[in-house]
Subunit: 297 residues, 2 copies
Amino acid sequence: MIADFQDWARSRQVRIETSLQTLLPAADVPPERLHDAMRYTVLGGGKRVRPLLAFAAGELNNADEERVTIAAAAVELIHAYSLVHDDLPCMDDDVLRRGKPTCHVEYDQATALLAGDSLQSLAFQLLAEYRLTDSPQMQLEMIRQLAQAAGSRGMAGGQAVDLASVGKTLSLPELEFMHIHKTGALIRAAVMLGAYCGTSLNENQLTSLDHFAKCIGLAFQVVDDVLDAEASTATLGKTAGKDAENNKPTYVSILGSSQARELAEELRRDAYQALEIFGATAGRLRQLTDFIIHREF
Amino acid sequence: MIADFQDWARSRQVRIETSLQTLLPAADVPPERLHDAMRYTVLGGGKRVRPLLAFAAGELNNADEERVTIAAAAVELIHAYSLVHDDLPCMDDDVLRRGKPTCHVEYDQATALLAGDSLQSLAFQLLAEYRLTDSPQMQLEMIRQLAQAAGSRGMAGGQAVDLASVGKTLSLPELEFMHIHKTGALIRAAVMLGAYCGTSLNENQLTSLDHFAKCIGLAFQVVDDVLDAEASTATLGKTAGKDAENNKPTYVSILGSSQARELAEELRRDAYQALEIFGATAGRLRQLTDFIIHREF
């Protein structure tokens, strides 16, 4: 079963990588340096957790895999843009990402800024350009959800709260608010956009899927906090221990490591519960949940 | 006729301002500082040239004005985001915009970065959320066009070429390539998105309108170069003489002021010619052309 999951995940990681290679502007199309920076940022790295979630949710809803690939790519482009901007000196000021120099280190700040901006545009261009569902109206709804998840009441808003929280003591609900926005919103969008490419699920099932997505979105961040505190830079491929160094409130700083791990397990149980309605058909999503909770980088 | 145009323009400027006030997240919605920065950036300033073009093109195509307002707002949000990012220290490093301190001066760099990012998301959210045409498929095409105009093969790409050209001598075609992307693409999108909200024009007419949009997009930038070289900071509401100071190639540095002005007049004639197919119904677009070419700030 685990070997089967690894095969499944690997083949989807290859598929999304191959698609992103084609969907991104070629490096020899002007402006070359900008396109090169976009490709540097997106290609050849990352666990592709959001695309994997989109693929699994798409399979649950009997979606065409070609269509899900575009939705998954759009979500991954938004994720990639957020990493480039987060790493900039005026934000987290980080030099290492996925084991490589960050974009502004490899190129320059202006190029990194424009690469991030362009990746965001490209995400929406893909969702509008390709056919993802038979209903253009549904496709507009997908664009709306991704835009909302990315914007000031989603990811970018969570990032703003994150920056403002440096050196402060947050309550657990405040921390949760921050992470639901910063990480949770886009993970939720990944699941739902993948699912929306199909048409088999009813309203009730989509609501359960959405609840599942919220649980793992938060769980992902709890585990991220634990890993930042406990893993090494070499393992993570990005600078470890940044949260403590930057005096940022995290689940570990508030709850301690062992209680944070326990919270992750609780969220895992909640996620599993949300999947009950699907019976055996949600196997991949359960495996992905375990993958997210028990990952080591 | 001119008084009539001024009344028309003023009423549309009020309309777009009022709409943007409602469409932007309220300043008391968390994260408050980010939303405040977004509102600071977008509201209370600017000539609103792109919205005016959208309104005029919408009128030409008998579009519902409510619908055009959303399209116009989306284009203006993209424009506003580009200004915030362009003003950052790693880009043009400017402190004055529309007679006020730039966003990163008034707030901070991280907030300005996130405000720009969020404005871009919001633009696409609006285009997906509101009904702009009776055809959702057409609406997807509008999103595609705006995303392309904003991205690496449009505005952001032009900005990258602009940065790379500092201190270089460009040929006139190279300069044109840069400006068609940096400014022209979004102006073209403004015209076409406004028009797409209606349904009266045929393919031929839309092609002419698109050609018109290309002409004034370039003309706008030629005049911008002349004004940067000749007008005062007080008149412009932004730092004058930046191009020469930054050693940037412009139409003035390549052609000289008087030949640049002549080029603008030539483009004005081309724009008028593209409008011939519409006869008297394109009156507003002609007035707007004159407004763009003969503006003093």
